[in-house]
């Protein structure tokens, strides 16, 4: 029992650290895409680890916490993907130090469309 408790404490502290880093990232990052990255990647691991740690501390909640972790693993990256794709479609420009870098994602989409047109012909 005692060992399970210690594993739980360890996981919860890792989760708390990642959640803190995620919050710091949202505060410090310059534009939407990097903020999304900080907010989702860090908080996905942070929330999953915290909830799993609570499952270790209270073994009778273990099944419920695993279900919640699976849900977070599915839903959190998905929502950040949808947000990033939507903001790119709304012409939200990323923060660039060098103006001439260009938009690799846009080029990729154009290439794909060109290839598809050639295939259709």
């Amino acid at each position: 029992m005692q060992i399970l408790n210690y594993i739980g404490y360890f996981l919860v502290s890792i989760g708390a650290a990642f959640l803190f880093l995620g919050g710091l990232g949202i505060l410090r990052m310059p534009d939407l895409y990097t903020r999304l990255q900080a907010g989702t990647k860090a908080s996905t691991l942070g929330a999953m680890s915290t909830i799993l740690g609570i499952g270790f501390m209270q073994p009778e909640w273990m099944v419920k916490t695993i279900i919640i972790v699976i849900f977070i693993a599915i839903a959190n990256p998905l929502s950040s993907h949808a947000l990033a794709r939507g903001s790119h479609k709304a012409h939200q420009l990323p923060y660039l130090k060098d103006e001439n870098v260009g938009d690799a994602y846009e080029e990729e989409i154009e290439n794909l469309q060109k290839n598809q047109k050639e295939e259709d012909k």
Binding site: F71, A75, L78, H81, A82
Partner: protein, 243 residues
């Protein structure tokens, strides 16, 4: 001169209102009595674990019927203004102008959708045992449908089915209330006439559980209908000449 007359009238009204309210006892003691009544009666007589539910559906059930009616009116009004007959009537193929969501979102929506419906159903079925109830469960179910509506351009909802669900759920509520007039001990509208059961059982609380299931279906159908109507108007435009 006009203003003086208005102020005079207001003064007279204020005086009579004040004298009327002054005769009503007011204060903590009165509220404490109501609280004790609810806290004592709901677990002991009605066998309902969730006191809020027992207040909303039993002690103030008529008020809840009014709330459901307000939601129904809002949904009907929105539908009558915005909803246009599609496909079989006008020959227009329903389409949304919004671009197709990516394959990831579509797959994820397909995975999450049934669980959202299950969570909503769980919340309104256990309305008398756990926090939540018909309104919350119905709103969660509508969220699931919204996820599908924004993910798939070809996901359309049959409004006839929604109308039937609303009709059956709403009449269940009213019929249970009317049965209370006949079979309950004090012959009141919406009074409990079924056996109360055991505290914390799924089949406890008499008519409260049945009413909350009906409310859950009704609210879910109504909000889903509102969302579908709003999203569908966008696609064909609001031009009445077009039809």
């Amino acid at each position: 001169m006009k203003k003086v007359i208005i102020i005079g009238f207001l003064g007279v009204i204020a005086y009579y209102l004040l004298s009327a309210f002054a005769s009503v006892p007011f204060g903590a003691d009165l509220i404490k009595g109501v609280k004790d009544f609810y806290l004592d009666k709901s677990p002991n007589d009605l066998k309902v674990a969730n006191v809020v539910t027992s207040i909303v559906v039993n002690f103030r059930g008529f008020d809840t019927l009014g709330e459901v009616t307000v939601l129904f009116l809002a949904s009907t009004a929105l539908g009558s203004i915005l909803y246009r007959r599609r496909s079989h009537d006008s020959g227009l193929n329903p389409q949304r102008t919004a671009p197709e969501a990516s394959a990831l979102v579509q797959t994820g929506a397909k995975v999450i959708f049934p669980f959202t419906i299950m969570l909503g159903a769980y919340i309104f079925i256990h309305g008398h045992l756990t926090p939540g109830g018909g309104f919350q469960g119905g709103a969660i179910i509508a969220t699931g449908f919204l996820l599908m509506l924004v993910s798939y351009r070809k996901f359309f909802i049959e409004h006839n089915a929604l109308t039937w669900i609303e009709a059956i759920a709403g009449s269940t509520f009213v019929i249970l209330g009317l049965l209370g007039l006949v079979y309950a001990n004090n012959h009141n509208f919406l009074e409990n006439f079924l056996p109360a059961g055991k505290l914390n059982d799924l089949l406890s609380g008499g008519i409260i559980g049945i009413i909350y299931v009906a409310v859950g279906f009704k609210v879910g159908a109504e909000i889903t209908g509102i969302l579908d109507t709003l999203l569908t108007v966008k696609e064909t435009g609001l031009d009445p000449e077009e039809n």
